[in-house]
């Protein structure tokens, strides 16, 4: 039968899946891709901790429920004439008490953990980093445009585009604004997301535990260049960081507000280019916010006629 053949082909294709998972890359490499399971900072670590907790609690309810339901379906099927049949039985106070109590208690427990966890990873003032806040702190100002990232180090008077370098074990205070539309600041293995909004300043406080390369991205759709709106994040040792800032301070490229307005023209960063700027004013961030609040927009051009 033709229909059976299609079904058979579908089943065969499904069996190939595990094989396809292994082609092209070793399974070790694939496991590394589950970045949310490989935190490199206390905030991401907390996120993972609560994920496991929540899933564990919920599975504890859902798996028994599923098993019971399947058992009922099979045991009480019409063709099983040995099973009891009680067509008018439709109420039981005891059962009602239990089925309301179980979700209620679960929500109470998860609600408590939600309360604790939210305060622990609050981007503006994470409880987990309270102890570490006595150490010296690095300030980074972040400005997003259509469709690039600008990281300003106000105290060092340098800036980088589409690339972030921070020292390990240091609390970093990010102050963020957008020149255009809403984005989300996200480095999956270091911390959770926070919105970046134009005309406003949001904050993220985080710390990286391990030296390495990480991927940062925008997690909020911002337009045609969104897919390329990524930034490399390098976590380096403190001394490497100092050397790096001195090197960037020697960059021939500068960034002031006028040059920023050129940088902020709609640009799809298809080639993943990065830039480094020196002699950057620590007022640049405020100038951008002020400009946007006064009505500055970086208009997206109309697609050419006939374009879909």
């Amino acid at each position: 039968m033709i229909r059976n053949r299609i079904g058979l082909r579908a089943r065969r294709a499904a069996l190939l899946l595990p094989v396809m998972l292994l082609t092209g890359c070793s399974s070790h490499k694939l496991a590394n891709q589950f970045v949310l399971f490989r935190p490199s900072g206390p905030l991401s670590g907390a996120d993972l901790h609560f994920t496991i907790l929540d899933v564990g609690v919920m599975l504890g309810i859902i798996i028994p429920t599923a098993i019971i339901t399947i058992y009922f379906l099979l045991h009480y099927r019409k063709t099983n004439t040995t099973a009891a049949y009680d067509p008018h039985w439709s109420h039981s106070n005891v059962i009602e008490l239990i089925v309301w109590a179980i979700p209620l208690l679960t929500v109470m427990m998860l609600g408590y953990y939600s309360y604790k966890g939210t305060a622990a990873v609050d981007p503006y003032n994470p409880g987990l980093l309270k102890a570490a806040s006595k150490q010296p702190v690095l300030d980074v100002d972040v400005v997003t445009t259509d469709w690039q990232w600008l990281f300003i180090y106000p105290k060092q008077h340098i800036a980088t585009a589409n690339q972030l370098v921070i020292p390990v074990g240091t609390v970093v205070h990010f102050h963020m604004t957008s020149a255009t539309v809403v984005n989300d600041f996200y480095i999956p293995r270091l911390a959770g997301m926070i919105d970046i909004m134009p005309g406003m300043r949001t904050k993220q406080v985080l710390m990286a535990d391990k030296i390495g390369h990480y991927q940062g991205l925008s997690a909020n759709f911002s337009g045609a260049g969104f897919s390329w709106m990524r930034f490399k994040t390098e976590v380096v040792s403190a001394s490497q960081f100092n050397d790096w800032t001195k090197e960037v301070a020697r960059s021939p490229l500068h960034m002031n507000y006028a040059q920023f307005n050129v940088f902020a023209r709609p640009t799809k960063n298809v080639q993943g280019k990065t830039f480094e700027y020196s002699q950057v004013s620590d007022r640049l961030f405020h100038q951008v916010i002020k400009g946007v609040m006064m009505g500055r927009v970086y208009t997206t051009p109309l697609p050419p006629p006939g374009a879909a």
């Binding site: 008018h88 039985w89 439709s90 109420h91 609040m293």
Partner: protein, 209 residues
């Protein structure tokens, strides 16, 4: 167990309800209340937006409520709309008495007073526009205009409805349809007055105090 309490006795004639009629009048007024509930939610959204956009930075350095509001002018508008509602109360009294002319006079009066209200508001806005205080100036002014003008647009539609009812009652008299529409219009007119009182209180009065 589980059988519903109050099960009627088994009888063949009890299976069908003959001569069963629905109360069309109360169904139509209930339907209109439901519409007004949805309309109230629109105003709720607009009031909430107005509140959110009433912080000092929403004025973007431009005019605030104090620069717009003329309390006595708003008071005059309030008088107009409330007396218009009063006139409509006249319509209801005449309706109850079956007095067609009374209803027509009441409708005409309610229309006239309501039209004065709309005229006053239009005059107020044209004055503001001449001063350059327009909705594009700031988020705050956008919210002000949106809230007050939405009420004004409702008033205009209400006037249109009053005029239509005038023509309908004049030509068709009191039928099922015209009567339920007069009842619904009563509720709509009162509703607009209530919204105006809220606008007056939370926009105009707050601007002055």
């Amino acid at each position: 167990m589980g059988r519903t309490a109050g099960v009627a006795a088994a009888s063949e004639t009890g299976l069908w309800a003959e001569h069963h009629h629905h109360d069309a009048m109360s169904t139509r007024t209930l339907g209109f209340w439901l519409y007004m509930l949805s309309d109230a939610m629109i105003f709720a959204g607009l009031f909430a937006s107005y509140a959110v956009l009433s912080h000092h930075y929403n004025a973007a350095g431009g005019p605030t409520i104090r620069d717009i509001v003329h309390p006595f002018y708003a008071y005059a508008e309030t008088l107009m709309i409330l007396t218009s509602v009063l006139a409509y109360g006249w319509v209801m009294v005449a309706l109850k008495a079956g007095n067609r002319n009374g209803v027509l006079i009441g409708l005409a009066l309610a229309f006239a007073l309501g039209a004065v209200f709309v005229g006053l508001e239009a005059h107020e806005f044209s004055g503001l526009l001449h001063q350059g205080i327009d909705a594009e100036r700031s988020g705050y002014l956008s919210a002000f205009y949106a809230l007050v003008m939405t009420h004004g647009i409702h008033m205009v539609f209400g006037l249109l409805w009053i005029a239509t009812m005038f023509a309908q009652v004049a030509s068709q008299g009191f039928t099922d349809k015209t009567v339920y529409r007069l009842l619904n219009l009563k509720m709509f007119w009162h509703f607009q007055a209530v919204i105006w009182v809220l606008v007056f209180t939370f926009v105009y009065m707050r601007g002055v105090l």
